[in-house]
């Protein structure tokens, strides 16, 4: 069915694919981010186990190719969140680019570490453990632990933290897959027709997910709703009421907005 690309699909089927893509992207934008919640749990647990000063996770930002610290825990962890470093820069960059874990004592001796992290965060660690987050042969990011309470990190510590790193990598992989609507859609289309060529599947996926320029306001609207996650319950109720009002206003053809506002206050 896929073989000939979008030309062979009925306009109804393409419309349904488009609708699925729009709803999927809307869901992603409104998502409360379970991946980040799990990563946060992992850094919290890591700090707890080693009574460490900090633990953090940096992930590859596919667009820039850089590593970005996305979550951290512990007294000294927060300053790194949001920081971005090059993919081979510093200890995290070494671990990311080689896929090898490392434990270090006095890492501030490493001039790159000193310049790029300790200087920016104002904190100079005594010991550091860094592991790759791996999905098969691909490195997704780096888990770092700083300043274990009881002496330097050991080989056994590396192995323990590997379990956390593995869990984090799985969470990232599953979540990334679910978020990549194009990939999900392509999987579905391929499973429907084994003989489908890659080009034909790509064409269909593009047809279904292509955004038209006048949709920009719709996505701005979705993004605005997404920000409601962080407001108070009463503010959220107010937003719901306002949306209801606007909805009714549109249904009524926009004839009498002031009257309908009055009726809401009733």
């Amino acid at each position: 069915m896929v073989k000939g690309g979008s030309r062979d699909l009925s306009s109804d089927a393409l419309a349904i694919l488009r609708e699925i893509a729009v709803r999927g992207e809307t869901a992603v934008r409104l998502d409360t981010d379970p991946e980040m919640a799990l990563l946060r749990t992992i850094v919290d647990a890591t700090v707890g186990i080693f009574a460490a000063e900090a633990a953090s996770i940096a992930l590859l930002d596919e667009a820039s190719g850089n590593l970005r610290f996305v979550v951290a825990a512990g007294a000294q962890g927060q300053p790194v969140v949001g920081m971005t470093i090059g993919p081979t820069q510093g200890i995290a960059g070494y671990v990311f680019s080689t896929g090898e874990s490392i434990a270090m004592a006095d890492p501030a001796q490493d001039p790159r570490f000193g310049r790029n992290v300790a200087d920016q965060t104002g904190y100079v660690p005594r010991s550091l453990l860094a592991l790759p987050l791996e999905d098969g042969a691909r490195t997704l990011g780096v888990l770092e632990v700083i300043d274990k309470r009881d002496g330097p990190f050991t080989i056994q510590d590396i192995e323990t933290v590997t379990l956390f790193a593995r869990q984090a990598a799985t969470a990232i992989k599953v979540s990334a897959r679910a978020r990549d609507l194009r990939a999900v859609l392509a999987d579905v289309l391929r499973s429907a027709d084994d003989s489908a060529s890659d080009a034909a599947v790509d064409e269909l996926v593009s047809a279904a997910t292509r955004r038209r320029s006048h949709d920009d306001r719709f996505w701005a609207f979705v993004d605005a709703i997404a920000t409601m996650r962080h407001v108070s319950v009463s503010d959220r109720d107010l937003a719901i009421e306002l949306l209801a009002v606007i909805g009714r206003h549109r249904t009524a053809g926009g004839r009498d907005s002031s009257g309908r506002l009055r009726s809401l206050r009733r």
Binding site: P111, I158, R166
Partner: protein
């Protein structure tokens, strides 16, 4: 076969496990006969496949004679001169320092396989090994590994070529628990994990797979970037200890095959158990 779980790499070399290394084979009364241990690495070239080497670092003793790098483009690679070659991370210099410490007269060649764009890592390793085989390098240290299943066959073929070309490929086991890391899991390489006895000359032979040798890799003082020194832990720092010892061995017995070299190494091991 490659998806099975591997045990903790360093486990056989932990304090409480070392009794398990008691020798049952033909060399059990022979541990003191290693005359080659007093050699200096003279006449031996050791290649360091890593992040580059800072030839000016005091720990390298001015023994770095050449810096190369692997250039990857469009799925293929080539080993070229690394003009103004330096270490992009510090890790290769750490390995070079350990090797020089054990084999002060050995010459060192660096092949940098990491580039700032982090592209084609596993493929770069393969090209570096290929270069070492082609140039009949007696000892190559690889404190790096790849978990790329796509390169399984490539690495398998390359390490066999190395074995028959008398190139001793010393590979650190990955620190990453439970995954096969290539080429360290192949029997034709010299695979190494870490122990925690602070002595560069204490090493162990483990008769059970997958890791054959254990060397110092916990809290090791190593050379790093910009002339600095740090204390580091990882199997990465165990492998160059074995590479340094093999440089001594090859200096005493230049014609020893990998089979003979491994046997002599195993025979001299486990003294500090």
């Amino acid at each position: 076969m490659t998806s099975e779980a591997y045990p903790a790499w360093s486990e056989p070399f932990r304090t409480e496990q070392r009794d398990g290394l008691a020798r049952k084979g033909p060399f059990r009364d022979d541990a003191e006969s290693a005359d080659w241990l007093s050699a200096s690495g003279e006449g031996v070239t050791v290649v360091i496949i890593d992040s580059g080497v800072d030839g000016d670092h005091p720990a390298v003793g001015g023994r770095l004679v050449r810096s190369l790098r692997v250039e990857i483009s469009e799925g293929d690679g080539e080993v070229v001169e690394d003009e103004g070659g330096d270490d992009v991370v510090g890790h290769g210099t750490a390995c070079a320092g350990i090797i020089h410490g054990l084999a002060p007269d050995a010459e060192l060649i660096s092949i940098r396989v990491l580039d700032p764009n982090n592209k084609g890592k596993g493929l770069a390793f393969a090209h570096a090994i290929d270069w070492a085989v082609e140039h009949k390098i007696p000892v190559a240290n690889m404190s790096l590994s790849s978990r790329s299943e796509q390169l399984y066959a490539t690495f398998h073929d390359l390490v066999d070529q190395a074995y028959f070309a008398d190139c001793l490929l010393v590979c650190s086991a990955s620190n990453y628990l439970g995954d096969a890391s290539y080429p360290s899991v192949f029997s034709s390489v010299v695979s190494v994990a870490a122990h925690d006895i602070p002595d560069p000359l204490t090493f162990f032979y483990n008769p059970r797979p997958p890791v054959e040798f254990g060397a110092w890799g916990v809290d090791v003082p190593v050379a790093w970037l910009g002339g600095s020194n740090i204390i580091a832990t990882g199997n990465s720092f165990a492998a160059p200890h074995i590479a340094g010892l093999l440089a001594r061995l090859r200096s005493a017995y230049p014609d020893a095959t990998p089979f003979e070299a491994k046997t002599l190494l195993a025979r001299a091991a486990n003294r500090g158990r």
